[in-house]
Amino acid sequence: MFGFGVLKGMSVTLWNFILSYVYPKKGITTVQYPEQKKEVEERFRNFPFLVYEGAPDNMRCVACDICSKECPPKCIYIIPEKDAQGRVQKKPATFDIDYAICMNCGICEEVCPFDAIFMDHEYELAEYERLSSLLYHKEDLLKPVEHFAKIRPTDYGRIEATRAAKGVKGRAQPVAGAPPKPAETQQSPPATS
């Protein structure tokens, strides 16, 4: 009685010890991180990025401010662009996301009516300074739609299909001609902040 339970437990640890040498595939769970990286799942979400098509200037975002309002920790900050007359354009002049505040919930991606913001797979974002270096500006956030297609092919296929069905193709040019109306109706007016 006394000692046998201990011995039984010790047999388990010895078994794992031996297994780690004779069959490391099962006996060792370590991922040697910087050299070896675990592949992230397709749906993995880390921090949001903005999508553009073709050129960075041609972004999908229309500065509608929905994501910034829905964002639970309020880490998105948008100022729409204004033309010479002071009229609000459907394009952000400033689009900042504070990665230090963002909690990767993915709500911005869900609520965006223009499929302009998505969650990235990039996770090696360590910085020495946490105030300014983790505040990502529009230039840092913009990534081509091909990037999105690469990291999340399934979602990309689905979203492109719905977009095609709605007849939205890319984003209309801000100047020249009437901009095509988005299918969504509840688009809020651009923020006046």
Partner: protein
């Protein structure tokens, strides 16, 4: 074979012979002492460094991890990296601490840990000092570390340290007794306190562990030794989940490293002593004697690490109960069995002492049954 067997003895003789050529006799004696001292002072810390690596490696493997594998091949340079880190750390002394005691404790704790190596026979003719009271010297000196731990815990002026120090002393005093008692059979049979003659009595595979009393004596001694050096499952004085780090809570940097060093060196010393007393020391075929000693010692060390990788910790009252109610009676009765073994002629003694040991086991089993934990049944409700 012959050269590898006595390689260290030969080297020492060569050095001494070299100095004998031009130096007076008395300097040669001093140099001889110095060589032994240097050997031990180098061997101790190197062993400790290797043990820290080994422990992390083995525990890592037990836990399905690699353990240290970045610094050097197989992570063998990890202890050096650790040492550098320890050296460069800030040496913090709490404001309320008893400065002198706080400073002296880590220094003093290393001394007994190094001293005990002087009487261990590392191989044939390789005991630094063949003291005729070697075994008692070992036990006496190893009790000194209690004082150092006490100094550390008192000097830190920290309640957790104080609790740890109290636990350490209570534990070490309690386990001293069954430890000494479990050694008595060996002394009884060999009729000597000298480590060298104890090993010589076991030459040719007549290891004491192969006798009934020796087998259980070895278990008792080893468990007491594990408790004596505060290792799992008897690591209450430094139980990090309860009292953070016990007596060395307030130590950082090199002072902490010294405590660590002392712990590992004593662990090795206990492993070596178990090998010497019960497993024939450096006795063994083919391999050189010192290698045999190391193999046996490291086997003991492996068991200690294995314990560490498996077992949770005792509670203080259970720890005391284990020493006083189980190990001590067992060790005392073991003396009786060893006496039987020694008195009776050769074939009879094995049977008689074996039966006696079995009877003792049964008695202890039934006596401890009341206290021992039970298996339980559970009901399931819908």
């Amino acid at each position: 074979m012959e050269t590898s067997e006595s390689i260290f003895v030969v080297i020492k003789k060569a050095i001494l012979g070299f100095f004998h050529g031009f130096l007076p006799d008395w300097t040669v004696v001093i140099i001889s002492i110095l060589i032994s001292v240097t050997a031990i002072v180098i061997f101790g810390p190197v062993t400790m460094m290797f043990l820290t690596w080994l422990e992390r490696k083995v525990v890592g493997r037990i836990q399905n991890r690699y353990g240290p594998n970045r610094a050097g091949i197989f992570g063998l340079l990890q202890p050096i990296a650790d040492g550098v880190k320890m050296l460069t750390k800030e040496d913090i002394v709490p404001r309320a601490a008893d400065k002198v005691t706080h400073f002296l404790a880590p220094v003093i704790v290393v001394i007994p840990a190094l001293l005990v190596f002087s009487v261990l026979p590392f191989g044939r003719g390789m005991a630094a000092v063949n003291l005729n009271v070697g075994l008692l010297f070992f036990l006496a000196v190893s009790t000194m570390s209690t004082i150092a731990i006490f100094m550390g815990s008192w000097g830190s002026r920290n309640k957790f340290s104080l609790l740890g120090g109290m636990r350490a002393v209570a534990q070490m005093v309690s386990y001293e007794i069954p430890m000494v008692m479990s050694v008595v059979p060996v002394i009884l049979v060999t009729g000597s306190l000298s480590m060298v003659s104890i090993v010589e009595a076991q030459l040719g595979g007549k290891w004491f562990v192969l006798t009934p009393w020796g087998f259980f004596g070895a278990i008792v001694f080893f468990l007491c030794g594990v408790a004596e050096v505060n290792r799992t499952p008897f690591d209450l004085p430094e139980g990090e989940s309860e009292i953070i780090a016990g007596f060395h809570t307030e130590y950082s940097g090199m002072k902490f490293a010294l405590f660590y060093m002392a712990e590992f060196m004593s662990a090795f010393a206990i492993a070596g002593l178990t090998a010497t007393l019960f497993f024939g020391g450096w006795d063994g075929p083919l391999l050189p004697s010192w290698l045999w000693f190391l193999v046996k010692s490291y086997a003991m060390i492996f068991i200690m690490i294995w314990f560490r990788g498996t077992l949770p910790r005792f509670r203080i009252d259970q720890l005391m109960g284990f020493a006083w109610k189980l190990l001590l009676p067992f060790a005392l009765l073991n003396i009786f069995v060893a006496a039987l073994w020694q008195m009776l002629p050769a074939p009879k003694n094995l049977i008689v002492s074996g039966i006696a040991e079995a009877v003792i086991l049964v008695i202890v089993f039934f006596a401890s049954r009341k206290d021992s934990p039970k298996k339980r049944t559970y009901v399931f409700a819908d």
